[in-house]
Symmetry: C2
Subunit: 211 residues, 2 copies
DNA sequence: GAAGAAAAAGCACGATCGGTCGTGCTCATC
DNA sequence: GATGAGCACGACCGATCGTGCTTTTTCTTC
């Protein structure tokens, strides 16, 4: 059998650059609309030079989803994890998402919101990867809600699944409105709605005190 | 100037068939991914035969958006309008949307949810048409909420804009989850959440009595 | 610095893209 | 039933798509 591939330091760096640009391009053209030629042009590379790193378009898509997940984790999940467990983390993860949008990390808003709708009708590993990530994010929010419930920061009759569903909806509505109208007011509205829904005093500091 | 075009009855019919198929295809491949060749193949027509009806891809996209709006109105808006004005219409419009999803009118779920995210980064008449429709639907929900408020079917301190935003979010979350997982449970959850949010007794009849 | 491997470019392929043109077929009208 | 306009077709355009194969450049390691 052919021995293990030994990537060169040089190659790793360009591969990273390719994947990062691929994620950005995918939020504009979609994961399917992402084209190797377009990608190569943006990187001042040849088509085949880009292509050789992946071997197929699907591998490129998978790499892009993976990278998008890493970025999402760094920009949205990680900031929430440093907040106090429970209700504060629920607020923090939503705020981090809205920050993530207003920061314009990607031109097309949330990568996964777009990718989920685009790949929903295209069974395969790419859709699976997206669904897996989405499940993980949902589970994270739900866990925050469960802890908040245990700490009596939410009404005892609150259903964690329903609350997770609602917060997910607020996040999606914020993304859709912001992408379509580029109006930060949509994000302010989203922050207000999140706080009202969770019974937290409006804005000011993001650190929530136990009620 | 060349006089007004006088379409033939025959042509109108095929044009309708083209546009309807275009809407369906667009929920799978996206408005941009929609290809004339693919469309022609599905209709057992020639590419040029299809193309002649529109003159440009953008015109085809605009026709598809228009048709999607008509379908959405018939399947979601119209059923809501026959309900009793106020709170009942709020519930009815959400239920009609979920019915619209479960009915599988389009393979890719809500046409406008996907189109809004896809065209958000593509300024032009198509994006404008989508934004216009979205504004209209938002205004409709808001109007339902205002009437419900006037009829004291909702708490007096309820903000119509915030409520509209939340319901829009629930709708988007239902669509995203259903598209990604094809699980009707997402829609049941959405119906439950809508009712709980509006303070309506769960399921059974959709006709709401004034509280 | 020479040898070997990895990275990137170059080139070409079949398919498909949106779009144009010319030619008949078909319907509606007189 | 002739005539003119609308309709649909097939052929074709240049461009771009994803994907291979071959060659050249660049790094790494002895």
């Amino acid at each position: 059998m052919p021995g293990p591939r030994k990537p060169r330091a040089d190659g790793e760096r360009t591969r990273e650059a390719i994947v990062r640009e691929a994620v950005s391009l995918a939020t504009i053209d979609g994961l399917e609309g992402l084209s190797i030629g377009n990608l190569a042009a943006r990187l001042a590379m040849s088509k085949s030079g880009v292509y050789a790193h992946f071997g197929s378009k699907q591998e490129l898509q998978l790499a892009a989803v993976d990278e998008a997940g890493r970025i999402f984790h760094a920009e949205v999940v990680a900031p929430a994890l440093v907040a106090a467990p429970g209700l504060a983390q629920l607020v923090a993860v939503c705020d981090a998402f809205f920050d993530h949008l207003v920061r314009h990390t990607f031109p097309g808003g949330c990568f996964f919101a777009g990718a989920a709708l685009e790949m929903g009708t295209r069974p395969g590993p790419v859709k699976e990867a997206i669904a897996t990530f989405q499940s993980g994010f949902t589970a994270l929010i739900r866990q925050f809600a469960v802890v908040a419930l245990e700490q009596h920061e939410l009404p005892a009759d609150e259903d964690p699944d329903a609350l997770t569903f609602e917060l997910n909806g607020i996040i999606l509505a914020a993304n859709a409105n912001y992408v379509l109208r580029s109006d930060p007011a949509a994000l302010e509205m989203a922050r207000r709605v999140v706080r009202r829904r969770l019974g937290v005093e409006p804005s000011s500091s993001a650190r929530a005190a136990v009620g």
